[in-house]
Symmetry: C2
Subunit: 277 residues, 2 copies
């Protein structure tokens, strides 16, 4: 089920700059029992990412009407905002209008043992690019993630860790990384590489407190290996404790962060779809 | 006029990974009087770029049949090869099949004075990303070019020069750069950033000789400013002598390189379309 500008569609116009240049941004949200997780944060990040590259984001009401039309229940929901359509070339026509795509997919089936026994990671040879103009943005230029994802085929592997040019830890191919170092949860600074996910921001902005300090910092591979615990997070899988990467293994994450995040998630849910039934 | 897999079309399936991730490569060719310029080199580069990211390129015969169907005369011709369609996520289904898009556009109208008086450039604040896994490839992740192109609106500006993280000169937003330094034509090494264009390769591989030495090397901004002459090149504009960038100006390029390239171009032309008429 896919909508383009609110209309059921299977296709996008070939003049769309998403096709020509990857000129747009996206969001992936989890819908459980008809509830959109972290909608306020997801919409705020969409607006912020659009602004970073000069696209006017659709209104919240417009997107919620699209979503209501699709009536997701237990789904992964992807929103793509493209800059719109233009003739050949990088230059923008003055009157360009963004296109919005809203599409449903099945939720990935993460087994309970992933959360109980912990995830297995690989260390990717593909590095995360250096590009401060795009760092942090969930934009449509994701070829490096595609290449990194081809580095493993073992379905037991949850994600791959990507380093930057200088060997600093950046993120997973499809998730953000947190490491407990000297009693402080650390997550890589993403001002030169990587994607800043909504889950990561919620942890930093809403969960961090005196008892659970969480900071952004540079993390070397040696520091990651020496960390007391590691977890990955994204909007579909939530917090996933990490058990091993290659020869390295970590003790499993205590339940505290996960529990706090769960509370926060519950209070952030926005009812959509059949809420009036 | 656009073809998708050889069939006239206005749209691309929303499941195509070009839309989702910019997962593909492209070529832009010049067609003059029904003649495709540098076709053998363009096709070879397409195959090479596809191989770099693990896409099987269409056969030369398939693409030439598409092109013949469109019967370009004086046109810009763009070929896009996408990895194909898939469900959500970076992972690739085993049976994925590439999609090919062939589209015509008007040739850009470069005024004769551009070649006689020389081009005006700007120095872009947007840097070229560091990403050795993708450097040199003309792939569909072109958001940094889109951002850099928004740095000027003066139609008298031909292109903008992009530097890398460390300040080395990489390329133009839509062209490659050559600078005459100590009597040798130098063009930036593109193994960490940038797009290696077909015109650039022809200059390096076919035009370079004892009388016209051309080498790849690192070029600092100071070296560029101090260069004896500068030109930009791409497949639509060919060789464009540069007259100025900001406060800096250069003497115009002698005609020798342009003349040699012109000879080479003539011998590389492949007749298509009405060649049997």
């Amino acid at each position: 089920m896919r909508l383009v500008n609110g209309v059921l569609a299977d296709n996008l116009n070939l003049r769309d700059r998403a096709i020509q240049f990857g000129d747009g941004v996206f969001r992936t949200l989890k819908v459980r029992a008809g509830q959109l997780e972290f909608w306020p944060q997801q919409y705020a990040k969409l607006v912020q990412d659009c602004a970073r590259i000069g696209i006017t984001a659709p209104s919240e009401a417009t997107l919620l009407a699209d979503i209501a039309q699709l009536a997701p229940f237990d789904h992964s929901l992807k929103i793509i905002i493209t800059r719109g359509e233009s003739a050949r070339g990088y230059a923008l026509p003055a009157d360009i209008k963004p296109n919005r795509i809203v599409q449903l997919a099945a939720l990935p089936a993460y087994a309970e043992r992933l959360y109980l026994a912990g995830a297995k990671l690989v260390l990717c040879a593909t590095r995360a690019s250096w590009q401060p103009a795009l760092a942090g943005i969930k934009h449509l230029n994701r070829l490096e993630n595609v290449l990194a994802r081809q580095e493993w085929s073992d379905p037991a592997v949850f994600d791959g860790v990507m380093l930057d040019r200088d060997g600093w830890v950046v993120e997973g191919v499809m998730s953000n990384l947190f490491a407990l170092i000297d009693g402080v949860w650390c997550t890589p600074i993403l001002n030169e590489s990587g994607v800043s996910g909504v889950y990561r921001s919620i942890l930093l902005n809403d969960i961090a407190c005196d008892e659970i300090p969480i900071v952004e910092c540079k993390i070397s591979l040696a520091q990651l290996y020496a960390a007391e615990a590691v977890f990955m997070c994204n909007s579909l899988a939530a917090c996933v404790p990490v058990q091993q990467m290659g020869e390295q293994s970590w003790p499993l994450l205590s339940g505290e962060i996960a529990a706090r995040l769960g509370q926060r998630a519950t209070s952030s849910l926005l009812f959509i779809g059949n809420q009036s039934a």
